[in-house]
């Protein structure tokens, strides 16, 4: 089932990626080619097959409940686009 132009725009909005009209049309064609490739999966009977999310199983390790991280705020914020007094700055969201 090919993607409509409207669906392409909706996905781009979900992904928070701006997309122009011209680009949306080009992307639509490419995505439909890719989904045709992906569609080959649907012909295979996978009834009862356990999904595999990971190569090594998925048990998470536990560690002792103690502080392991030191405060490196200044270092990590040294690469921030905009900051002030240890805070990340973004455009105003509440009037």
């Amino acid at each position: 089932m090919p993607l409509s132009l409207e669906e392409v725009r909706r996905i781009a909005e979900l992904a928070r990626i701006g997309i122009s009209e011209a680009e949306a049309a080009a992307v639509q064609a490419q995505l439909n080619d890719i989904f045709e490739l992906i569609g080959r999966m649907q012909k295979v009977d996978t009834e009862g097959v356990e999904p595999m999310s990971h190569a090594q199983g998925s048990t998470l390790r536990l560690r002792d409940d103690e502080v392991t991280e030191t405060d490196r705020r200044e270092l990590y914020q040294s690469v921030a686009p905009q900051k002030d007094a240890g805070l990340y700055l973004v455009p105003k969201v509440i009037e």
Partner: protein
């Protein structure tokens, strides 16, 4: 020195035939001379490298050297290195200086190796040709009109042109093995979990694995000895005893069972690649290996399943690039949502945007079962195929890529054609198995062909043994590109 193996370099350093300072400067001069034409490095910092080289020389003088002490190694620009620009091939990270070292970098630093520079790559490792880099395409030293493969194409070109003796890469769907094949090198993707992903910028977390690239299997073993190791900061790092990956290099191959999957010798395989790979199989038999025909019946589904799983995980991983904490931020915007949209439209290239869109769609409400869950079930079938195959053989052997290196620009406009480059390499990523590529001859245009070797979980030493014995009997890995004056 430019053609020497890591073992030879280590011996030369130990016997004071050359200092690390001189060796590092030698490779830096090569980079100065050749990088303009090949675009293999994004960042070179001569002074920083030479400071490390001096420290290595002091360590050698004190008698505290390890096998890689003083040897310059280039790193794919996906690994964070403290105080080094780390771009991941993207405009999004064009101003990002690593605040800390990746585990892999820590390991190399601990071993006394010298960081020679950061290598070019497909943007966020998404590509098979190293053409999607924001910093321009990498050229193949064997033919500058051709791609070096990808995504670790900068690392491959650097070694092929003898601008670096060895390099790191990462492999999500073939990104160390396919560029190794297309550039006449040896490259290895370890068992998933063997090399820590800490500080390695994430693409598809259940598939990503760092690995070494070098001229020979013996070099790969020495590099893997440094790179592999448990790291509690990566929740998928495997906690197991350290091993010496070079321990079995000299074992004879008599009795080794090599499985040859007929699915990897079908219509999509170019005749020149087939000829070279068949000759390599015959050579392995001559060395004592026994050839068995095996089936990997679901192999053809690996590309479709991969292009659901990898983009899905990428769309999640790359959501962190929003212009707030690091990286590019759009100059003009109306509000927060507009800042996100513009930042991400400007900061990501076309292929990365495309994959984020695929991933966002397959994970969106109502489609999860049809795509992501379905792909995970197929992933299980592919892993089962290998489990069955390893009941009949020790290693699965075939071609690494369906063709030799292709011309720059010929596949860039057709994503599906580009994706099919990785048809033989992707299954190992989905199953989490170790796999490698070694040079096995030349095809059309006198371009290198790679032999693909897949092992069972944690069978790296066995794979390296087979590859090393093959390289003792052949000299494909010693060939160097014409026009690269040495």
């Amino acid at each position: 020195m430019l053609n020497a193996s890591l073992k030879e370099l280590s011996a030369a350093l130990g016997q004071k035939q050359i200092s690390s300072f001189e060796l590092t400067r030698l490779f830096l001069e090569r980079i100065r001379k050749l990088n303009g034409a090949l675009n293999a490095f994004i960042t070179v910092d001569e002074e920083r490298s030479l400071v490390q080289a001096r420290a290595a020389d002091e360590r050698i003088a004190k008698g505290a050297a390890q096998p890689l002490t003083g040897i310059p190694v280039a790193h794919k620009d996906i690994f964070l290195a403290k105080d080094w620009l780390t771009t991941c091939g993207s405009k999004m990270l064009s101003n990002f200086v690593g605040p800390y070292d990746a585990h892999v970098i820590e390991r190399f630093n601990g071993a006394g190796a010298v960081i020679l520079g950061k290598t070019n790559m497909d943007e966020f490792a998404m590509g098979s040709s190293s053409e999607t880099s924001y910093y321009g395409p990498v050229k193949n030293p064997w033919d500058r009109n051709c791609v070096p493969g990808g995504s670790s194409g900068g690392s491959a070109a650097a070694i092929a042109a003898r601008m670096a003796p060895a390099a790191t890469g990462t492999d999500t769907g073939g990104s160390t093995r396919q560029p190794a094949a297309l550039s006449g090198l040896s490259g290895l993707k370890p068992t998933y979990g063997l090399v820590s992903r800490y500080g390695m910028i994430a693409f598809a977390s259940s598939l990503d694995q760092g690995g070494p690239m070098a001229k020979s299997a013996e070099d790969l073993a020495l590099l893997l000895n440094v790179m592999a190791g448990f790291d509690p900061r990566d929740s998928t790092s495997v906690d197991r005893a350290a091993e010496d990956y070079a321990r079995d290099l000299d074992k004879p191959l008599s009795g080794l069972r090599i499985g040859v999957p007929k699915e990897h010798f079908g219509d999509g395989l170019a005749a020149d690649v087939r000829t070279a790979v068949e000759a390599a199989l015959a050579q392995l038999e001559k060395l004592g290996a026994k050839r068995t025909a095996i089936d990997l019946p679901n192999s053809g589904l690996s590309v479709p399943a991969y292009y659901v799983i990898a983009p899905a995980e990428a769309s999640s991983n790359l959501s962190r690039f929003d212009g707030v904490r690091y990286g590019h931020r759009a100059k003009e915007y109306r509000d927060l949502a507009d800042m996100y949209r513009r930042t991400r439209a400007e900061g990501f290239g076309a292929e990365v945007r495309r994959r984020i869109l695929i991933g966002t769609y397959v994970l969106s409400h109502g489609y999860y079962d049809a795509y992501y869950l379905k792909a995970q079930k197929i992933r299980r079938l592919i892993a089962r195929d290998f489990a069955e195959a390893f009941g009949q053989c020790d290693l699965v052997v075939g071609p690494t890529a369906p063709t030799v290196a292709f011309k720059l620009g010929t596949k860039a406009a057709d994503p599906v054609q580009m994706y099919l480059n990785d048809i033989y390499t992707i299954p190992a990523n989905l199953a989490g198995l170790p796999a490698m590529s070694v040079p096995c001859g030349f095809g059309a245009g006198n371009l290198p062909v790679g032999l693909h070797i897949v092992g069972n979980y944690f069978a790296e030493a066995k794979m390296l043994n087979a590859a090393h014995q093959y390289q003792r009997a052949t000299d494909w890995h010693r060939r160097e590109p014409a026009g690269i004056q040495i």
